[in-house]
């Protein structure tokens, strides 16, 4: 699992690589939160194009970041989801609250 976070014009971009499960979600969560809480960006974009596996722990990770961004009125965006990730996302109905591009 690898993560790279950068910021660009008020948007924090977190590029995730590897597998998202309960084991890796803990590290991802703390890395993203550390960056985002300091910066308080208008938007957080989570880029999933390098994710090769995700179970329902990924849903928890997304919902948690959605709630965090809402604390200062920021928005969350999900990018680069492969078909198998979209199947898990669909089950959660998360598309109704988070923008998926």
């Amino acid at each position: 699992m690898k993560i790279n976070i950068t910021s660009e014009n008020g948007t924090a971009i977190a590029v995730l690589c590897g597998e998202i499960d309960h084991h890796s979600a803990r590290t991802l969560r703390s890395e993203i939160d550390r960056f985002v809480i300091t910066m308080q960006p208008e938007r957080l974009a989570m880029d999933f194009s390098g994710i090769t596996f995700m179970d329902s722990s990924g849903i928890g990770l997304i919902i948690g970041r959605y709630k965090l961004m809402k604390e200062w009125g920021g928005q969350l965006e999900i990018r680069g989801t492969q078909p198998y990730i979209r199947r898990v996302l669909k089950l959660s109905g998360i598309e109704r609250i988070v923008k998926i591009v």
């Binding site: 309960h22 084991h23 596996f53 179970d55 329902s56 722990s57 919902i63 078909p83 198998y84 959660s92």
Partner: protein, 146 residues
């Protein structure tokens, strides 16, 4: 149903073994020639059951998780994941979408929903203080309508 081949593995409840369990089950199932989508569904379902054993079953303790994978006739896959953890007092409620006893840990309560929709049959038997056994079946090559 005839058992054509079988794998049994025992893993201690360390979270790093969530990935190990997925990898072991996928490599065993390659011989059944699943599609990429079928294999990904099985990997996800296995991950959910193993994670539950670690996160909920053995919460605050350690124990072993037993995984049995069988390749049956007519391309049916049988998977049993068993823990000897705390057990579930109300299985029906636990299986409801979004129900979780650990929301503060960012659990989504969707583990059983994933297992249910990514396999053909899901059975959960559990006894408080004794543990939980999850059994899943999936038929390959029929997209869920055999």
């Amino acid at each position: 149903m005839k058992i054509l081949n079988e794998m049994k593995i025992i893993l201690p409840s360390n979270s790093v073994n969530e990935g190990a369990a997925r990898a072991a089950v996928s490599s065993f199932l390659i011989q059944a020639d699943p599609t990429v989508e079928e294999l990904s569904d099985i990997r996800t379902a296995v991950s959910e059951a193993v994670t539950n054993a670690i996160v909920h079953g053995y919460r605050g303790t350690k124990g072993n998780i037993e995984i049995i994978v069988r390749l049956l006739s007519e391309r049916e896959i049988y998977i049993r994941i068993k823990d000897r953890g705390c057990g579930i007092s109300d299985v029906k409620q636990a299986m409801e979408p979004l129900f979780t006893t650990a929301p503060e840990e960012e659990r989504s309560g969707l583990g059983f929903s994933v297992m249910e929709s990514f396999t053909d049959k899901l059975r959960v038997s559990s006894k408080t203080g004794k543990g939980t056994t999850v059994t899943m079946r999936k038929r390959l090559g029929c997209n869920g309508n055999c």
